[in-house]
Amino acid sequence: MTLSSRGHAFSNVFESLSQDYLQGKEEVLRLSVIALLVGGHILVEDLPGLGKTTVALALAGVTGLTFGRVQCTSDLLPSDITGLSIFNREEGHFSFQPGPIFNNIVLLDEINRAMPRTQSAMLEAMEECRVTIEGITHSLPDPFMVFATQNPSDQSGTFLLPESQLDRFLICTGIGYPAEHLERLIISGGGIRERIDKISPLVSSADILSARRQVQSVYLSDKVISYIHSLVLATRSHDLIITGLSTRAAINLVQAAKAAAYLAGRDYVAPDDVKSIAVPVSAHRLVMRNDMTANGRGGVIRTIIADIALPLV
């Protein structure tokens, strides 16, 4: 029972966010919470001005976590993110100045504008949850979550993230334009940055850590395992796909499905949970035969899902 009530607390978090602050962004919020609950990272791929940063800020506000922001440019150095040692003349030695990555939620804005060298430094930090600078290893705070964004339309002067690094993001999703009536509402209401600053935290970081443990203990049925497995196998033998889903992708599918089930207040994974996260978790990891956009990949995943019978008994 504690489990479902916890799950309830988190669904409260994202309900209050989506209703009071971020209308029309339920899906991206839900996926962010899932990424937070699993300890994964999220890549939001959409046009500027649709509220990517707002979502990240609101998430940090409502969870009471620290927030850091990096605006990526082509001259951004790794040390700009990780921090560096500065000589303190008064004390007579170098002291470490942590960079913006030493926050719970890090927004990497327009990640594809950074040089590959910087990208890989960031992504290594994401994977390892620690940073080594001048021989000293610094652990990143726990919970740690990267909220990266990229702009798909403006391709000049960008460095596309390679597949191996895309694979490190648990979830890759878009935001999309809000529905008409919502957009009117947003326009009339104006920006909400100031209101977001005043959000009082609903959960603490300790809550998040215990919720993560509970997510791990969500029951995963054999039927759902075989469902996920058949999904993975189907991507590997699909005509349009060169490289299908990896085993890590399958593990991530399970993790995200568990978190989705937890958010729905259940202590077991249903195939519906897998379906609900399959596109954001797996689409960006596929290497397609002809260069397809993320949307096209999502369509392929959706057709694959429609072909696989859900285990109902």
């Binding site: 029951y219 049925s221 054999d222 039927k223 759902v224 729905a264 259940r266 077991y268 994974v269 249903a270 195939p271 519906d272 949970d273 379906k275 899902i305 429609a306 072909d307 696989i308 019978a309 859900l310 109902l312 008994v313």
Partner: protein, 636 residues
């Protein structure tokens, strides 16, 4: 979770036992001991988990034994060495490690052992063992297939249940085919293994000779002589006629080879019987007194109404008989009086006196017989099978001194006196009484029912049956003695009727019945009476329906579906009807259904159902009831 290997090993032992138990009573001492030792050592090694006896060692060990039995084999003794070798091979495999290959060998050997036990005794129990064996071998082979893929494989209870169901399906599906092929497959008229079964020699109750005074105590076994399918008769008329004794030397009564001709005319209503004798060395065919016809090939009918097999086959036979239950048969022609009046040279004086009293008293045969009957009734004779008179003058002493004897004394003394008084007569040997099995509709006649009575020829009436034993003082209590009708007895009768059906429809089923079955089938197709034809055809229609319904059911599997599948199907149908959501075609999950339907009942249902299903467990009874209730609510 259970390890497949353990399961297969346990099953292997049970299968081996199913093959061993039926053959065990027929084995000699050495294979018996070896079998027990092998079983124990195999079990011990399996429990310990290491196998001391290596296959090569065992092979070397048993080679001399095989040689020994090979030398034992001969035409007169063909079967014992073979079954000994079979059981020793089984022993060897049991005592070694149960690899997949060895297990399969054990199954084959067990089936061979069971099959060879049928050479000795083909009782209905064989069917039980065979059924068990086939069922278990089917399951064991499935398990072995798994084991051969992965020796350490574990199996869940659910999978085990599925394997069990498949294991049952294989033999069950084949049963209708067996029933179908049994009547139509070709078969030989002669038993294949006739020489193997020595005939049960002689019988203790019924004998081909009547000799009162040879033993002081007579005890007869309760072993079965024959069964007679027929409607129930009056107890006092249950005389089963066998043979006729027509010659006496004063003590012994025997049957001569030459029988004077007579003509029999039956004018009474007849009783039809279908008689199934147990195999024995006796040639006489029994039937209710007095038989008119017995229909069986290769039988000999004597003029005095005795039917005999011309050759003793030792196999199960059956025959239909038509009898005149009055026991009296009108004889129009004169008989050979001299033949039936033959007297021995020595004749006890007191019996002689009695017969002369008879002649003086009555002026007709009828009256003389009645006088003698009265004399027997008033003599305070007792019927007994113990303390019988023996030695010289037995009949004299029986009638005037000891006044105690069994049917042989009564009948032979009575017949002797009648002959001496000039009335032609003979002794008839057969059985009296029998237990009626209501379930099977037949009489059971056992050895202890053996009986001897008298047939006297009276001018104008013919041969009349007189049972002198019925004049005994205690005849009432002896003859009307009821068997204990308790539960055990009734159960025995019920088991016997099953035995009878087995003998009738399996063992003694032969070419003739096959032909009659075929002709019956043919005539029923072009029969004249439509109603009768329908009755004949109904069983086949029912059979066909059964087979087709099994086919369709297994196709649809709706009956074999689990409770979960059934309730889900109902739910999905209802959803489609009420909310127009086709789940299966659109690949829609249960929770998606809830969000689309937006109905509390639907979400309740899905909540309970999915919690069970995606926890990998079955629905509990309580949950099931709840779900059914929700479905009902949704329907209304």
């Amino acid at each position: 979770m259970i390890a497949i290997k353990n399961l297969a090993t346990i099953l292997t032992y049970v299968i081996a036992l199913c093959g061993m138990i039926p053959i065990f009573p027929w084995l000699t001492m050495f294979p018996r001991m070896l079998l027990i030792l092998g079983l124990i050592s195999g079990l011990w090694q399996d429990i310990k988990g290491n196998w001391q006896l290596k296959p090569w060692f065992q092979n070397i060990l048993i080679t001399p034994i095989f040689l020994y039995y090979a030398l034992q084999y001969s035409r007169t003794n063909p079967i014992q060495p073979v079954i000994s070798v079979l059981t020793i091979m089984l022993t060897v495999r049991l005592s070694g490690e149960k690899t997949v290959r060895h297990s399969k060998q054990i199954y084959a050997l067990s089936i061979f052992c069971l099959a060879s036990s049928s050479l000795y005794d083909l009782s209905p129990v064989f069917l039980l063992y065979l059924g068990l064996l086939l069922f278990m071998v089917a399951i064991a082979l499935i398990l072995l297939t798994f084991q051969s893929q992965d020796a350490g494989m574990l199996v869940t209870k659910l999978d085990l249940k599925r394997i069990l169901i498949f294991g049952i399906m294989i033999p069950v599906i084949s049963v209708p085919l067996i029933l179908f092929f049994f009547p139509i497959m070709p078969r030989t008229q002669l038993p294949l293994w006739n020489f193997l079964n020595p005939l049960p020699s002689g019988t203790s109750g019924y004998s081909e000779i009547v000799e009162p005074g040879s033993k002081s105590n007579v005890s007869a076994s309760h072993s079965l002589v024959f069964r007679a399918e027929m409607p129930r008769q009056e107890d006092s008329k249950l005389y089963w006629r066998g043979t006729v004794f027509n010659f006496t030397d004063g003590i012994k009564w025997t049957r001569t080879l030459q029988i004077p001709p007579e003509n029999i005319y039956s004018n009474k209503s007849t009783v039809n019987q279908l008689i199934f004798p147990e195999p024995s060395a006796v040639r006489t065919l029994f039937s209710l007194d007095r038989p008119v016809t017995i229909s069986l090939q290769r039988i000999k009918l004597s003029p005095d109404g005795v039917f005999e097999l011309s050759r003793v086959g030792g196999r199960r036979i059956n025959y239909s008989a038509e009898s005149n239950n009055g026991g009296n048969v009108t004889q129009l022609n004169n008989i050979n009086r001299r033949f039936y009046l033959q007297l021995p040279e020595q004749f006890p004086t007191r019996l002689k006196e009695l017969s002369s009293r008879l002649i003086r008293f009555g002026n007709s045969d009828r009256k003389r017989v009645e006088y003698l009957e009265n004399f027997y009734r008033l003599s305070h004779l007792r019927y007994s099978t113990n303390n019988l008179p023996i030695g010289d003058r037995v009949l004299d002493r029986f009638l005037f001194e000891i006044k105690q004897g069994n049917c042989e004394y009564f009948a032979s003394s009575f017949a002797l006196i009648l002959r001496s008084a000039g009335i032609p007569c003979r002794l008839v040997g057969g059985f009296f009484g029998g237990e009626y099995n209501k379930l099977g509709g037949y009489y059971l006649v056992s050895e202890d029912k053996a009986h001897v009575w008298v047939e006297a020829f009276i001018e104008g009436e013919g041969w009349i049956r007189i049972d002198p034993s019925s004049f005994a003082e205690n005849s009432g209590e002896v003859w009307s003695k009821k068997g204990s009708k308790n539960l055990v007895f009734r159960l025995t009768l019920a088991i016997d009727s099953f035995n009878h059906i087995w003998n009738r429809s399996v063992i003694s089923y032969d070419l003739e019945q096959q032909i009659s079955f075929a002709s019956q089938l043919g005539s029923s197709f072009r029969g004249i009476q439509p109603l009768k034809r329908i009755w004949n055809v109904i069983p086949y229609i029912v059979g066909c329906l059964l087979i087709t319904s099994i086919y369709f059911i297994s196709k649809r599997m709706s009956l074999f579906n689990s409770r979960e599948q059934r309730i889900l199907n109902r739910f999905l149908k209802l959803i489609k009807l009420k909310f127009n959501i086709s789940t299966v075609e659109s690949g829609c999950g249960l929770f998606e259904v809830t969000s689309v339907a937006n109905c509390s009942k639907v979400s309740n249902f899905v909540g309970i159902y999915a919690a069970a299903i995606y926890h990998d467990r079955r629905l509990t009874d309580k949950e099931y009831e709840k779900l059914m209730k929700i479905l009902k609510d949704m329907q209304s």
